[in-house]
Amino acid sequence: MRPILFQELSHLEQLSVFKKRNMKKILIYFQIFIVAVGLGSCAEDFLDKTDPTALVSDTFYGTDREVTQAVTGIYGMLRGYFNNHWQFTEFITDNTSLHFNVGNRGQGPALEAIEYWQYNAGTPNFASLYNNTYNILVNINTTLEKLKTSTASQVIKDRSEGELKVIRAYLYFDLVRLFGDVIIVTEPINTPADAFQLQRSPSEAVYSLVLADLSDAINLLPVNYSANEVGRITKGVALAMHGRVRLDRKEYAEAVTSLKQVLTLGYGLLPNYADVFKPENKNHKESIWDVQYQGENLFGVNSSFIYTFAPLASQGAVIKFPGQDGGGWNIPSKEIISLYEAGDDRKSVSLKEGYTNNSGQLVPVPFINKYNNPHSIRGVTNDNWPIIRYSDVLLMLSEAINETSGPTSEAYEYLNSVRVRATLAPLNGLDKSQFRIAVLKERRIELAFENHRWFDLKRTLSASEIKNLLNAYGKKEREDPTTSRGGIPFSQEDYTFEEYQVLFPIPADQIRINPATTQNPGY
């Protein structure tokens, strides 16, 4: 009989043979190990190893490079946030409607519920919004906490703190306006049990946090960045946000103070409205804060808004790829189309009232055109999303000045500079309330489809006024819908807005998981 080779043994057999042959050696090593542990005062460190191949939050955030990476990662999360932001700020309002998808209902009803004001605590899009917001906030809080003990340079630490606090303020400002009282989290949550302890804070407390974060950021942030870091949050962003929050709270004098400082920072209107939305011009002097997207590559940091907003079954006639359809969402309503004054440059830039299909026929389905730009890879667009533009600052200023001192020449100057850029005649001779209405309308047109409308309504109207305004719009849509519904009638409850709906519901899942969480009235 030939001897059995070691390789021929089963795994278990190999192990036992190995043990037999090596037991002596193992014992020796073990003794050496004991001696080493006994001798060294570093015995505990010796056992306390981290995996050198993984990035661990406990050891990260040590250098300038790591801190910057962490903050950039949070900027990246804003892309996901803004991919759906239109649903809650534009789509829900009288600015846009939808192209009813008779051919494929899919999970459409969940999103249509927002347009038709049929939403309730179980509407999944609110849960995504809520969860996504807190997910970003937790990352911000963790990074802010780590900054305290980071060994990175003071310049980078200060700047990063400023950037993160502006984003945190932005998110809480959204939360408090959309949901009302919300849970405030400003520090890392270490155990699940801790998460169950936190309860909603009054909206005043949320506003205090927002203002405190912005004040800190104003002192920490630089006015501009070197060319390869353009797009990061600047002092101008913090000041403009501060003005926006003050305006929302009707603290007009404070709003004017902050907004006027933005005027001194070198921003300005581009001469031509169309140039504002061209990807090749991105981060121009009118752009104060954009969500940075990048197309023309497959890194996955692109936008794709036109693919959501273009009409259904447009077959490449809108998005210039063979057979490419749009999602048919966020379709400009007949109402907003009718509001453009004759000769307004902005109309053809912001929207199209229809398109010519491949058979040469005009299809009267409107769509948003601001984010419809040529791109070379299907599904990958290069459009940034504007959060704050200089024209927004000018209009906020004219609104705030009018509220404090009436339509002064200064208030006219800011309003009219926006109108003149759009090739419209300047306004004059309005009284205070006419001026207020004029500014609001100018905002609606100038900032159309940039996620301002819902907040503008909530800032300037009471809940019952919003109810009346929206129901009047809803009645028009029911009688004469912006797009054909393919013979499908409206549901009875479609387009019926109730006052309580000015605040979104706390997602039902969150209350089910933690029954101590309270719900907004009406839901």
Partner: protein, 301 residues
């Protein structure tokens, strides 16, 4: 029970792994082994029956239930006092036959004749488009599992049969939310011809009107089927050639796997489950189980 459980999303996470409570599995398992000889035939058989009941005894933390799945698709809910992972959804009571029918039913906004009629479980007069009116609609745990082998030999011939089975359990045929989806222009199952067309042509009571645009794809009992089945998993027939015929010890055999499935379940495999853990009982029509035939010979030189 070590499971991922939900936690408030303000923590930045929606789930964490935790020891969440206790489940009791109780039941009996019977094994019967029998050998006999009838004339020249040796017979062997083994029957294995398992009866199991499981019950959630305790859930820790604030939640009184563990939810898995989604509003569209298979929902599973584990509650104290009930078996784990019960299927959850709207109870489908039939199809609205007429406008009159819609009017006399609790408000189901957007329903038209031909839409699924759901049960107003919380009794508030409204079937709301969320989970409030959802109830238990199925139990994914078989009441009995079966394993049965029957084997024997006579002369040079031998044979072996293996049956498996599971009885009295439910499966959510989630795939039909797509393959019986009438709310658009799609390829659908042939049974779609029996859909509701009008009050006079109500169809088979399971296919919604093609005009519907809501109340169809939500988790509901329309998609729940009894998945009881017996499966002839394998058959082996062999013949050992007599040694006086051939020099080497030789056995020729034929075997077949998954030969017959006895079930009323409409899918190709009542034994599938997507999701795992406590998100069970969901059939998204996985790759079908192949029927295989093998002919072979074992020869010892």
């Amino acid at each position: 029970m070590l499971l991922s459980v939900e936690m408030p999303s303000i923590s930045g996470f929606t789930q964490s792994l935790d020891n969440v409570g206790q489940v009791r599995n109780s039941g009996i398992e019977l094994g019967l082994d029998f050998r006999t000889k009838v004339n020249r035939v040796n017979l062997r058989t083994n029957l294995n029956l398992t009866f199991n009941r499981n019950e959630v005894l305790e859930l820790r933390g604030g939640a009184d239930a563990i939810w898995n799945g989604s509003f569209y698709g298979a929902n599973n809910v584990s509650k104290v006092g009930r078996p784990m992972a019960m299927l959850y959804g709207f109870k489908m009571m039939g199809i609205f036959q007429s406008d009159e029918d819609v009017k006399n039913w609790p408000t189901q906004d957007g329903a038209i004749p031909g839409t699924y009629k759901y049960f107003d479980a919380d009794g508030d007069g409204v079937i709301s488009y969320d989970r409030r009116d959802m109830i238990e609609i199925g139990n994914p745990h078989p009441a009995m599992l079966l394993g049965w082998t029957l084997g024997g030999d006579v002369g040079g011939f031998d044979f072996n049969f293996l049956f498996t089975g599971a009885f009295n359990y439910d499966m959510m045929r989630n795939i039909e939310a797509t393959t019986m989806n009438m709310d658009g222009v799609f390829n659908i199952l042939q049974s779609g011809v029996n859909r509701f067309r009008s009050t006079d042509m109500p169809g088979d009571g399971r296919g919604a009107t093609s005009n519907t645009w809501k109340w169809q794809r939500e988790a509901n009992s329309r998609y729940v089927y009894d998945a009881s089945h017996v499966w002839l998993r394998s058959v082996t027939l062999g013949y050992s050639l007599p040694l006086n015929v051939i020099k080497f010890k030789t056995r020729l055999f034929f075997s077949g796997e998954n030969l017959f499935l006895f079930t009323d379940y409409p899918g190709t495999n009542p034994d599938v489950s997507r999701g795992g853990e406590i998100n069970i009982g969901r059939d998204d029509e996985a790759y079908p189980v192949p029927r295989t035939f093998t002919f072979g010979a074992t020869i010892s030189f």
